[in-house]
Amino acid sequence: MKNPIIKIEGITKKFGIKNALEEIDLSIYEGEFFAIVGPSGCGKTTLLRVLAGFEVPDSGLLFIDGENMRSIPPNRRPLNIVFQSYALFPHMTVLDNIAFGLKVTGVPIKECYQRVKMLLKLVKLSGLDHRFPHQLSGGQLQRVALARALVKRPKVLLLDEPLSALDAKLRNEMRQELVRLQKSMGITFILVTHDQQEALSTADRIAVMNNGRIKQVASPTNLYESPSNKFVAGFIGSINLIKCEVRQIEGELCAVTTGLTKDLFSIKGKNEISVGQSYLMGVRPEKIQLTKLTDIDQYDNKLAGIINNITYLGRSSMYHVKVSGDENIVMNVSMSHSDRSENIDLCIGESVLMHWTAGSALLLEDHDS
């Protein structure tokens, strides 16, 4: 990870009055598996299309491998795209589909077919060379689309929700396949998806987008463990958010009040917080422990409540707990069934105590900037 292979500087794209992309700044490094996630309509596809050259940005600069892409048409950019619909050529066989990108740029036929054969093996499609696209399954189509782009040996491969048309099991397989291909070929991958799980399990770094803006760029662990704002915290995984006010800062930790109880909560703070300011306290469902309403004084960060509902999820259950003090706040608490053994008799309507450690809570800005 030395020099950025893609450098985006202040790119803005408008459709009518709507800003599909606003002031995007992003650097993507050589050999990275980069994911872009965000809710539907946030501008992910538009960003990919700007990179590929199908959309011209209203302002901003785009460099690929140090070269300004301003006047370079799509067919001369050193990157390739795998479309969501695959966009295979229906009148060509698998072989011809994959060879297309080489033939049109004048690669000698013999070398062409050697490279195609090699790629067919790599994506595990050997033996299907002479099939037409309509004779293939969804997963096979996906592989052909992938091979057709990879055979060009692009510097960057763009993938627009490539797995969304596959069923859950196949999707999982293909995720691992993608990672394997990326590592073995050393090509930079940019994967667009609205599935946070997909991004977390494949990417080296992830950019979270919302409303045409990038909200955070970080590694999967950092994104989950220390999201920089409310949107990212809620989009990657789920989180319980409670309004709070900072009262005291002691080194790493700071003490906040919530107005729900008289107790102080301690949270691992960030650098630029100030006393007296309003924030949000965020706690992930699986970081909260549930016990019966006894020996209250034993714990530091605690809230009492009543179990409102229980959702059975197989490996774990989600407890929806109404906080005593404000009926409108419902905390989600996830408990795996192995932990639950002593709480086996927790049931709806029961009063419980939720508690968590200082290190597992997050302090987030209240406003969404």
Partner: protein, 283 residues
């Protein structure tokens, strides 16, 4: 206990096909439609000048037709007009279809309607209109041979290119624009995208609509009648004049040949269309 449920199976729509009255209607329809044509073909082999009663089998009248210079000329004219009409309406039809598919402009719906008007307009109106029109602009009547057919050719293009436009427009609607982008992305030039991706997609529609334009032109009588001159007789016109003289098996023979050419063209068109559907079906 077994449940018998095949006594009174409810009738779904296709089951009516198996009812006797449906079959009768079907047969009668076919007889009405095709019996006259069958008689025409059979009597082209009739060994009788008057051609009223069957007198035995012969190829004589096919030979006679083949030696009839007027008839041969008419066939040459018809085929020439047919070919030029096909080319002309393909070019106009493709351009029209592309315009309607790719671009947005004011009054597009109105334009779309006007383009399709010749399809529904009575042929006799078009014929008379063209007769008056060509007279008004003083179109030269004594041009040398291939050019002398230009009047009829223009008239035929006028009524057959809308069919081409409709068929190609329908085909274009199924084109996945991402395919075009994918081709660009893979390094193809605009020309290569056109020949490798776009053309193969609309090729079946081109063949089908070309053949339809050809058959439309080949057997058109009404519009041709108003735009042809003494030197530019086409097959339908020639047959009509032969009939006025006398109905000999020679007329039947000429008609049978025309029928055969038309059927071949239509057959190829259907076959291409079917092949296209079965291959593209899943995508």
């Amino acid at each position: 206990m077994k449940i018998k449920n095949n006594d009174k199976a409810p009738k779904v729509s296709l089951d009516y096909f198996y009812q006797w009255w449906f079959k009768v209607i079907l047969c009668v329809t076919f007889i009405f439609l095709y019996a006259p044509i069958l008689v025409l073909i059979i009597f082209s082999f009739n060994d009788s000048r008057r051609n009223i009663t069957w007198r035995g089998f012969t190829f004589k009248y096919y030979e006679k037709a083949a030696l009839n210079d007027g008839l041969i000329d008419a066939f040459i004219n018809s085929l020439t007009i047919g070919i030029f009409n096909t080319l002309g309406s393909l070019i106009l039809g493709i351009l029209t279809a592309l315009l309607l598919w790719r671009f947005r402009f004011p009054f597009k719906a109105v334009y779309e309607g006007i383009i399709l008007l010749p399809v529904v307009m009575p042929e006799i109106c078009i014929g008379v209109a063209l007769l008056v029109f060509f007279n008004q602009i003083g179109w030269a009547n004594n041009l040398p041979w291939p050019l002398s057919l230009s009047k009829i050719t223009f008239a035929h293009i006028l009524f057959s290119f809308p069919f081409v436009a409709i068929i190609i427009r329908a085909r274009l609607a199924t084109f996945n624009l991402e395919q075009e982008e994918a081709a660009f992305d893979l390094g193809a030039s605009p020309g290569q995208v056109f020949t490798n991706v776009f053309l193969p997609h609309i090729r079946p529609a081109l063949i089908v609509s070309g053949l339809i334009a050809f058959t439309l032109s080949l057997d058109d009588f009404v519009i041709t009648f108003f735009t042809s001159g003494p030197d530019t007789i086409t097959v339908p016109i020639k047959i009509y004049s032969m009939v006025r003289f006398s109905v000999t098996p020679e007329v039947n023979a000429a008609s049978t040949i025309l029928l055969l050419i038309t059927l071949c063209a239509a057959g190829i068109a259907l076959w291409v269309h079917r092949a296209k559907i079965s291959r593209i079906g899943k995508l």
